[in-house]
């Protein structure tokens, strides 16, 4: 390690996140590889290293002998300041080499508030963040991840995006970079060629046109780029790469444990949930496969905790069999198992007893809306009875801390629906009074609300977000209706949600606002330490834009969306039908009860959904 770097590391907070050298990191001989890839996560080490996608793709790329994929994370403010002062360019953890010299810089884009960190990291790497200013073939800058379902706000900065799951598509794209390098292609030629890979979107090959009212009229491809880009999926999860070993950080991260992915997609169709539509169709890992992977991941890491990951753990067929198998292996080794994302409608004491023997704190349910009417609108198929039943089971089982999550500002929400949240919380409290096995310890019920963010590719993609003032009025209404001392009410600030809404349904022009935020010092915007609402408002207005145009404008049902160019499998006509069902207050059954023909099955070639 260079002495200059060593010296600054002795001054910054938590330096171990900037050193690399963790157990199971992959180091190759750089003179023996053809392609150097910097896998960048536009957030801190602690967040990024907790990301399962990163661990999977890191392993998948490094499985290719001629490629070396290294990691790079966004530095915290103190480290950034030191790097800038000492003129040390952003480097990859494994080799310590500047990522600006790499062939490929790949970003994982999981949420919109990380966009500004992409610009900042490129700048710290000494790489122009505008794609048009990167004239040479390398470094190629691309991105994948959930927020690429609407890539347009980042269109000016990315050479291309990979839509959907990256295990295969990333490798295909990287092989093409390798070939382009060998054959001396120029960048335009590479971009034309890479746009032919299924699942790859090359923004510079699409020209937007706007109407007088400011809405998008068309996004027109050229040079042979496809009309629409269809996301990639792995049809048979067990046959795709899944790591046997995980990098074990030498410093504490957010999810400091083995994370085991059960399945992708979700059979439910909650109308507000982007992941629920974006990851369709449901595909699962086999139980045997999971048990094997769990053992090798635990043995090779030394972790003492394993958690199951999916959008809805309780919906995994054979969950009992899997947890039994895991517990038989884990218990004698003092390894604990945790089960997040349990649904409130089928919470089983038996399961909870087995998995959380010691800690009885922290149980979370997300009814999302207070009234049955509104839960029907959003298709959150959990009834009050089911929720209270689950609470009863938990209270009888000795739990005395419960968190309840709700959204305010859902389509059609009335004051009555808001007050229903308080009523529901009271019923939960009453359930505790009736059934708690140990009342002496008291109970703590926490109600949290956040402002609803309408997302692309959901039935609510046409909706207007409520204004921040209106959200705060509903917050006050709810607060005034929560009277018990045992119920705590927390609400998230609406400001981040407003910006998130503007970014998630933004068009290409929003890129200018991102540049402005960056120029004014913005980055790490998902952290309240750094998020500055006024800076965002100025950035939008200096770009001649209005966040409200993107966030709080109801779209016409025939409006062309910037993300229409992205095909996730689910048809727009299906989303629209679901929107109408929402307004009619009608629920849609989940995929296991009845296939409603959303279109996602067309992504599968050799099998049916949920097989």
């Amino acid at each position: 390690m260079e002495q200059k770097l060593e010296r600054i590391l002795s001054r910054v907070q938590k330096p171990a996140r900037y050193t690399g050298g963790e157990y199971n990191e992959i180091v190759k001989d750089k003179s023996a590889v053809d392609l150097r890839v910097a896998f960048c996560f536009p957030d801190t080490y602690e967040i990024g290293m907790s990301n399962l996608g990163l661990q999977i793709l890191y392993g998948a790329i490094n499985r290719e002998p001629e490629m070396w994929c290294e990691r790079c994370f966004a530095p915290w403010g103190d480290m950034e300041e030191e790097l800038r002062r000492e003129k040390i360019p952003l480097y990859a953890l494994e080799s310590g080499d500047p990522i600006g010299d790499f062939d490929v810089i790949a970003f994982s884009l999981g949420y919109e508030m990380a966009y500004t960190s992409v610009l900042n990291m490129l700048e710290l790497a000494g790489v122009p963040y505008r794609a048009s200013e990167r004239k040479e073939l390398t470094p190629v800058v691309f991105a994948g991840g959930t927020s690429c379902v609407n890539p347009e706000p980042m269109a000016d900065f990315l050479d291309f995006c990979v839509l959907g799951e990256g295990e295969e598509a990333d490798i295909e794209a990287l092989r093409l970079v390798e070939r382009a390098k060998k054959e001396g292609w120029d960048k335009p030629r590479f971009l034309r060629e890479v746009s032919k890979i299924p699942g790859v979107y090359v923004p510079s090959l699409y020209t937007p046109e706007y109407g007088e009212d400011g809405t998008l009229r068309a996004l027109t491809p050229r040079d042979g780029a496809p009309e629409r880009v269809t996301k990639r999926i792995i049809e048979d999860l067990d046959s795709a790469f899944y790591p046997d070993r995980a990098i074990v950080p030498s410093t504490e991260i957010v999810h400091d444990r083995v994370v085991l992915e059960l399945f992708r997609g979700c059979v439910r169709g909650c109308r507000f949930c982007q992941a629920g539509f974006a990851y369709r169709p449901v595909r699962r890992h086999g139980t045997e496969f999971l048990l094997e992977k769990a053992k090798s991941l635990l043995e090779s890491s030394g972790y003492e905790e394993i958690t199951l990951s999916s959008l809805s753990t309780s919906d995994f067929k054979g969950l009992g069999e899997l947890t039994d198998g895991l517990l038989d292996w884990c218990e004698p080794r003092r390894i604990s198992l945790s089960l997040p994302s349990l649904r409130a409608d089928n919470f089983s004491m038996d399961l909870m007893e087995r998995v959380q023997k010691v800690r009885k704190s922290g149980l979370t349910f997300a009814p999302e809306a207070g009234s049955q009417r509104l839960r029907d609108v959003i298709n959150k198929n959990v009834t009050e009875e089911e929720l209270l039943n689950s609470c009863r089971v938990a209270f009888e089982g000795g739990w005395n801390t419960l968190k309840l999550y709700f959204m305010l500002g859902l389509p059609t929400e009335t004051d009555e629906d808001v007050i229903a949240i308080a009523k529901l919380a009271n019923k939960v409290l009453y359930t505790w009074r009736q059934y708690a096995s140990n009342k002496a310890r008291g109970v703590k019920i926490t109600v949290s609300t956040s402002m609803f963010v309408p997302k692309p590719h959901t039935p609510f993609q046409w909706e207007a977000q409520v204004g921040t003032e209106e959200y705060l009025r509903r917050v006050r209404l709810l607060r005034d209706n929560i009277t018990s001392k045992s119920i705590t009410y927390n609400w998230h600030s609406p400001e981040v949600s407003l910006i998130e809404a503007a970014l998630s349904r933004g068009d290409r022009r929003v890129g200018k606002a991102l540049e402005n935020v960056h120029a004014a010092g913005g980055r790490l915007d998902s952290w309240s330490d750094y998020f500055d609402f006024e800076r965002w408002l100025r950035a939008f207005s200096d770009a001649g834009l209005e966040p409200g145009f993107y966030a709080s404008r109801e779209r016409g049902e025939d409006e062309v969306f910037p993300w229409d160019v992205i095909d996730l499998g689910v048809r727009k006509s299906y989303l629209l039908r679901e929107r109408h069902e929402a307004y009619a207050g009608r629920v849609t059954p989940d995929c296991r009860v009845k296939c409603m023909g959303c279109g996602a099955n067309c992504l599968l070639e050799g099998r049916k959904c949920d097989e």
């Binding site: 002495q3 010296r7 030394g302 003492e304």
Partner: protein, 216 residues
């Protein structure tokens, strides 16, 4: 009680003490060695470190006590651990010992002192530290007191070690009162700022008992 002697060098020197405990736990699990856990509501593995190592300081003489569920071959342990250690951590020796950590009386250290825009001869520092007494100000929240650090170190040498770099070695007192490597060097900036380095990197070399023998 079983005791492990290990190194923590290179990039691993930035692992904090708390993180090192977690890291060592996992190293043992990966090596298949079951550490005995404490009794009680929230059992945790029994591991006890001789002297927490400050972040950024290297060491070739860290000691850690542990107990295992079942007897193990201590001679074979270092190799088993080293197969599963993160870069920079290296097990050197494992043995049984009843010698309590409180009998560690001295610590041999070295400090690499870097000067960016000036050159100093070893003799200048030797004569600074050779003074009869070296009175430093010690500030606590409430008071400022004067301490003579001279009795708290011995065997100090300084040699040239390359461009703008000096290598200082010393034996420092451990316990009450103690002198840390950082304090030893900050005597320069307090008393003779012109001799203070721009950057100092520390390494622990050996732990010493009251009879001036290596402590094990």
């Amino acid at each position: 009680m079983s005791r492990l002697l290990f190194k923590k060098e290179g990039r691993a020197k930035f692992i904090s003490h708390l993180d090192l405990m977690r890291t060592m736990q996992r190293v043992f699990i990966r090596a298949g060695v079951k550490i005995k856990h404490t009794e009680g509501f929230n059992p945790h593995p029994y591991m006890n470190f001789a002297m927490p190592l400050p972040v950024g300081t290297e060491s070739v003489c860290e000691l850690m006590d542990f107990e295992t569920d079942a007897p193990i071959d201590l001679a074979a342990l270092p190799a088993a651990l080293n197969a599963v250690c993160p870069e920079g951590i290296e097990a050197l020796e494992a043995f049984d010992s009843d010698n309590k950590f409180k009998y560690i009386k001295w610590l041999d250290i070295e400090a690499r002192l870097f000067y960016y825009n000036k050159v100093h001869r070893p003799e200048e520092l030797m004569s600074f530290y050779g003074a009869e007494s070296i009175i430093m100000e010690k500030r606590t929240k409430r008071s400022v007191s004067q301490v003579d650090i001279k009795p708290l170190f011995t065997g100090l040498t300084v040699e040239a070690a390359g461009d703008g770099e000096l290598l200082l070695k010393a034996r420092l007192a451990v316990g009450e009162p103690a002198l840390s490597p950082a304090q030893l060097i900050s005597a320069l900036s307090q008393i003779s700022p012109e001799l203070a380095p721009d950057y100092a990197a520390f390494k622990r070399r050996e732990v010493i008992d009251k009879d001036m023998n290596p402590f094990r």
